[in-house]
Amino acid sequence: MTPVLKTVRLVKIYQDGAVPVPAVRGVDLQVEPGEFVAIMGPSGSGKSTLVHMLGGLDTRTSGEIWLDDHRVDTLSESAWALLRRKKIGFVFQFFNLVANMTVGDNVELPALLAGASPKVARERRESLLGALNLGERADAAPAQLSGGEQQRVALARALANQPSVLLADEPTGNLDSRNTRDVLRLLGDVHKEGQTIVMVTHDARVASLADRVVSLFDGEIADDGRIARRRTGTVGEVIDLR
């Protein structure tokens, strides 16, 4: 099977200050279709930088990035932008919705930008908002929504073009526990439908929903493994579990 995403000896060195700062130091990562990968690590371990490079939001210093069997790190900025619209969905910690557009238009925009007909874009908007239980909020402005609702809108927008991969950077980092639960349930649902997901998080509860956890340390992969599933019975046994 061809991996959806692949990096080869990927490196990022920030050269803004007097001293160059290596953020990612030679990462080889492969993500298979349908996989849900969580990327964890202490702050400063390079996890956000890595996922930003995967989404073309940050340039690499050296190494390769492959998306659906195409090398993308060598593309021009405009070619990358074009590809990104079609193949990558992005969810951030702070939603990043367009403030002066309605919720519905926020979700419809990516399809229009990617060249879908207005009719198709409208249909997709409606089915996504319906699926995320936001049908009645379509005409509201993002600011009128709670944080959890805004993040669901951001998720709908990210999924609008049926991307090859959904990249998420601390998608629950700004949510309370109830909204976190809602967003996680949605991520779980789209994953079950086959969506490939790469998610950066420092929250172990969120990470444990993934199939696989990649632990970064100091810009390198320190550990990469599947999360075993065991079965526990009643809650009472949880006490004995530890």
């Binding site: 690590g41 509860r205 990470a207 340390f217 320190a222 065991r230 009643t234």
Partner: protein
Amino acid sequence: MRLHLLALLAKEPAHGYELKQALEQTFGSAYPSPNIGQIYVTLGRLEKDGLVRAVDVEQSNRPNKKVYYLTAKGRELLTTWVDEPTEGPRVRDEFFMKLVLAPLTGIADRMALINRQRRHYLSLMRDLNDLLSRTPPTDRVAMLLIEGAMLHLQADLDWLERCQEDLA
């Protein structure tokens, strides 16, 4: 289980089977299914220690049943238990000992230990997530127990990160 039974008897006198039912009702699935034999054994010991006393209650077509009630001494012990702060989780646990001693053994390095322990904690977290999604929201004490276990695990994982940063 001694103090749990004393607490239930502080509410009202009861016989053994009623105590089993009361445990089940109070804790939902948050208490490992109480064994009736264990309850009777515990009541016997509590009686011997003067913490409860029993009276025989006649039943028309069955053997007498013993109804237990709390003594003043029992109430005192219960009050002490409730009023005392409870010890937090033990921090110098088995893993900590391994982590400190591992480099001396030459069997595993600290990074390998930390990575293995992280995977283990994450798989526990995954179980707790599954459990939480299968627990009816009406079972409030069970939900709280799971959330508590999750927060402890998160703290353990944060601590592993600190170990990684300091020992790497």
